[in-house]
Every structure is written in C-alpha cells, then in structure tokens.
Symmetry: C2
Subunit: 343 residues, 2 copies
C-alpha cells in the first residue's frame, strides 16, 4: 500500500498536486501489449474525476527512461525494467503497475519502498480456454500427429474421450481455476497443487508443494500455471517428471524456468511422456538454435497462449486505472504483489 | 428391411435353422477395428437367446472371402468389400452390417436385394470432442504455431476467446449435432447445413445445401462432417472455399472427397484461410508424396480423430448384435442405409 498522498483528501481542489505518471512500453513486445497515448487518453477521458489529476508521459525506449523516471510517482510498465538502482533514479516513485500478471522479471528492480501491482486475473478467459485446448490436444494425441506430419508419415493413434481422466493443476490461481472449471465441464477429475492448498470448488483435492510424489503419479495431464519465484524455479525437475505416468501429457503456461526443459525434451524423445504443450520458455524469444523446436510430440506456442489479442492493452489499462483511482483516493490497491512470495 | 426369415417365429425351437454369419476384418486396418473371434464369442455369450442360433465364421484376408460368402446370410465387415459380383458370390446374403458409420466404399458392392446397415451414432462422443478440439485449435492459431515451429521460428499470433464466434456445420448428423452442443457450451453461434435442413436444438439456423452462398461468408469456422455421396462429392470446391472469410478455419471429419483439397492447400499457402484440421483424405493412407503433408497452417490426423481407441470394435459389435437380435426376430433393423441417399 502506498502511504496516503498529501492532499489526497482534498480530491478535485486546485491545491491537489498532480500525480506524475509515466507509461513505458516495450519496443520488443508485440503491438497488442502497447498502451499507446491514444488508448490511455481515451480511457482516462471516461474518468473525469481522474483526468484532471494526472500528468502523463509516454516512452518506448529503455535507453530514454531515466529522464521521465526522475519525476515519476507512478510507473505503468510492460514486462521488465533494466534499471540497476531505481531508488536513486526514481526518487519520487511510489507505485509500479505491471501490464502483465507475471512479475518475475520486474520484481528484482523494485525498491523496498515501492509498491508493485500486477494484472493477475486478466488472463482468465483466454488462458483458461487455451489450457482446455491444450488438454484436449494432448488427449487426442495432436502432438503425435504433428510430429508424424513433419515426416510425411501416416501414423494412427487412437484416443478416448477426456471424461474421467485426471488433470493435476500446479498453481491454482486465476488461469488454473478457470482451467479447472472447464475441465470439470468435460467430466475430468481435477487435482490441484498450491502453496496454500486452499480449497477450490472445481478441484477435487488440493495438495501442498511437498506432496508431488503423491499427486503426480495420478496425472493423465499436468498443467503448470505457476509464477516464477525462488520456490517454483526448477520445481518440475527430472525427478518430478519421472513421477508422471508414461502416457501423461504436460502443459506449461506459467514460466519456462519452472520446468527442466532439457529433461522434458529427453522424456518426450524417449516416449516416456506422450506429449507436451509449451507456451513459455527459459529464454524468450526462444532462439532458433534451441533443441526444443524439433523435439517430438511437443507443440510450442510463442508466449501468447493466454494473452487476448483483442483487448490485452485495454484490459491492463482498465485494471491500472481502477488502481489509479484507488491510489488517488488513498485506498487499498488491487493485485498488490507480495514481494516475499514473488507474486 | 430383410424379409421375415423362415422359422423366425419359432425362435428357440430346434427346428429353427441357424443364421450363417461371416465376420470379415480388414488386415490393413489398425487392431482397434478388429472384431476378433474372442470379442465376438464373449459378447454373444451374454445373449443366450441369440448364441444358439448363430453359426459364425471369421476371416481377415480379402483373397479368401469367397468361400465363406457362399453360405453367409449375414456379413459383418470393416470398411470395404472388393467383390465385383456379390449377388452371384453370396446367393444367400440378406444383410450386411458395416463396422463403420461411413459406407461410401462398401455401398457400390451391395446388391439390390441386400440390406446395408451402418454404425452411425457410434462416434458421437469421441467425434464431437475431436471436433471441439479442432475448433479450439483453429481459434487459438495452433496450425500457425506448428507451422512456425517446423521452421524454428518464434512468430506470435494473438487470438481471442471462442465465445460469440460462428461455426457452420456442414452435415448435422450424429457427430455434427454433438459438436454443435459442445460449441454452444463454449458460447459459440452455430449454423447448420443439411440436406433436410431439419431443426436441431443446438443450431441457431439451418440452411439447405443450395444456400452455401448465404451461410459460408458468416463462418469463422467451417466443420465438415458429411458422408461421401454423389451429392456431397466435391461440394466444398474452390468456389465454396472462396465464400469463406480469410480469417476462417476449416475442419474435415467427414470424407476427403467432399473437399477440393488442392484448392484448400492453395488457399492455406496464400493465407486466404487461417488454418485447417483434416482427418480424412481422398486416398488413405495418404501417400508420403502428397503435398498436403507440408502445407502451411494445416494440422493432419490420419483418419482416427473420431474413432474411440478403447472401444471401437466393442461398440460396433454391440450395435451389430442388437441388430442381429432384431434380425432373428424379424424386426426392423437400426441404421439402415438409404441406398439412394448413400448414408
């Protein structure tokens, strides 16, 4: 929570100082992620109570961010901020809003006194639907088919309906919960693993992170939607992958470094797992030299599976402006990142 | 309908002559399709009223089928029968039950006086689910991703949830109806095209086959589940494909010859359609020399998308034995093919 701003109780009076906001886009990111000045001005014009209180600047070049940071009180930024000493560079900074739900790349740059918020929850519909798509693809052996297709090889594989099969969801957050709901609608059995093991209406049983040996052998499918934190980095290592049945399929919509991708590729190549769908990678964009590209029984989407192409920037902006209203009023912000947990 | 068998009213008496049944498997087909003697004897043992009345023989070699055909009254057969003059070869034959739902390869061999029945309806669950899988894959640009993956290319494509989009289902039979139901559950708009244009609860509006110019331009997705008949052969020709919007995707789970596959490949290559999922082909197995294998934005499954791997032969056998009971009792058979329609 930011400290109460001086003057925030005199909202709308001329004496209230403006909130200095900087919006920084990532020139390497696809246009769908860009919060353009046009989008911002259009959205804030619908909030007259806020519009008069904001002084905004826009940037799309990491090399030129230092100047606006000197004055910024609020920063709305995509993905990452490669500043080595933000406390010094941005002495007035109180709050950073990420355009993304995952903040692993941003978190290391955030000074102790600065609040960080995410857009967690924004990816629910698209992300849940893409998770269900991946479950159905794995169930119906699509990774096998596309691998055979690359070799112009007619190679039948007969599957059965997905009802009654078990998906283990690792990280039952916003996307994981929606995936659980859709999986249940297809008659699947849903098990969950989370730090808190909090009950979820669509999940038959929740497990803690130390119970992988009990839960992974039950998986027909393992769906990973975990954020990257010190605790989750490498959580699905070779030993964890060995706990999965050979007919199982794996999906990663969380972060690439949660999984030992070399071990995964090895098991896919040996037929010790039936298939995988990856959307996230240890390095992004994944270099063309990566062995993953040609790994059999693997379908890869380039980190866009959970992101809605029609409304990403708009949805992130809505979450931000709702938080900005709260900030201006001195209220509690939504989606505040617990820095010790990392999400 | 078969004529009433002599003696069928004296069911169970010793004077009732046995029903001579021949079961012919296809050596080229996957084991999942084989109605083995073990499967048959196990299933018929559960029907004591039938068991004593059947004299069965089994074959799995087209070259040796002539001898059993000489005596057979009932034939249960997979896929096709390359007999040139079945009326002469099988003078006692009254009824052929196909193990499959599509009878296009079998129909030309069936003499005028012989009843042909299919297993239409058997593919509902698996087929409907595979159709929904294909719709979701197309919506989420999976054909684009696997094409980029072949070239080790990071190439993002941002989609939106499938709700509100329109699928046009061409051939609203058993699989098409189940696909419609699932699509509605995902919030899709469903339009249908069928010969009879009969209303279906999951279909917003039905069109006749001559209304393609009105319905195809509305399609975000075109799902083809048509049987192959004189009427449907080549129905989705280049002109029909031209009626689809460039962002549309196409699925064929019916028969390969319903579509002009060369025109489809051409449009996919030019980006005039966004993707396709094919399960059926003009020639099967599709030769490795086919240009389809390397067509961009195309995912191919080798004619097994709608077939349940755990229960194909068992399900076909159940349908057959239910019909066999009807046949023995002189009752109306299920799934009788209308030879003039071809399905």
């Amino acid at each position: 929570m930011p400290e109460k701003r001086p003057g925030s109780s005199r909202l709308g009076t001329e004496a209230t100082p403006p909130i200095r906001l900087h919006i920084e886009n990532n020139p390497a990111a696809a246009p769908v992620y860009h919060v353009t000045p046009e989008l911002f001005h259009e959205a804030i014009a619908k909030r007259p109570e806020l519009a008069g209180r904001i002084e905004s600047s826009f940037g799309c070049d990491p090399k030129q961010i230092e100047k606006p940071l000197r004055e910024a009180e609020v920063l709305f930024i995509h993905g990452r901020l490669d500043a080595t000493d933000l406390a010094k560079l941005a002495p007035r900074l109180k709050w950073i809003q990420s355009t993304g739900a995952g903040v692993d790349k941003l978190l290391p740059s955030v000074p102790a006194g600065v609040v960080l918020t995410s857009t967690s929850g924004m990816h629910v519909r698209k992300g849940g639907e893409y998770a269900m798509t991946a479950l159905l693809m794995l169930n119906h052996r699509v990774p096998h088919f596309v691998t055979a297709q690359r070799a112009s090889r007619w190679d039948q594989a007969f599957s059965t309906p997905i009802a009654g099969k078990t998906v283990v969801i690792l990280g039952v957050g916003a996307i994981g919960s929606e995936a659980a709901r859709l999986a249940r609608r297809f008659g699947m059995r849903v098990l969950g693993v989370s730090r808190s093991a909090t009950r979820n209406p669509a999940v038959e049983r929740m497990y803690g992170p130390n119970e992988l040996p009990a839960v992974l052998p039950q998986a027909d499918f393992l769906l990973v939607t975990l954020p990257l934190t010190d605790e989750t980095r490498g959580m699905i290592d070779r030993a964890a992958l060995e706990l999965l049945p050979a007919h199982a399929g794996l999906i990663n919509l969380g972060r690439g470094d949660v999984i030992d991708n070399a071990a995964l590729a090895d098991k896919l190549t040996k037929g010790e797992l039936s298939g995988a769908v990856l959307d996230v990678y240890p390095q992004e964009p994944l270099p063309s030299s990566s062995a993953l590209w040609s790994t059999p029984n693997l379908i890869m989407s380039p980190h866009c599976g959970v992101d809605d192409g029609a409304s990403y920037a708009e949805s992130a902006l809505e979450i931000f402006l709702d938080n900005l209203r709260r900030y201006a009023a001195g209220s509690k912000l939504n989606n505040v990142v617990d820095k010790s947990r990392g999400y």
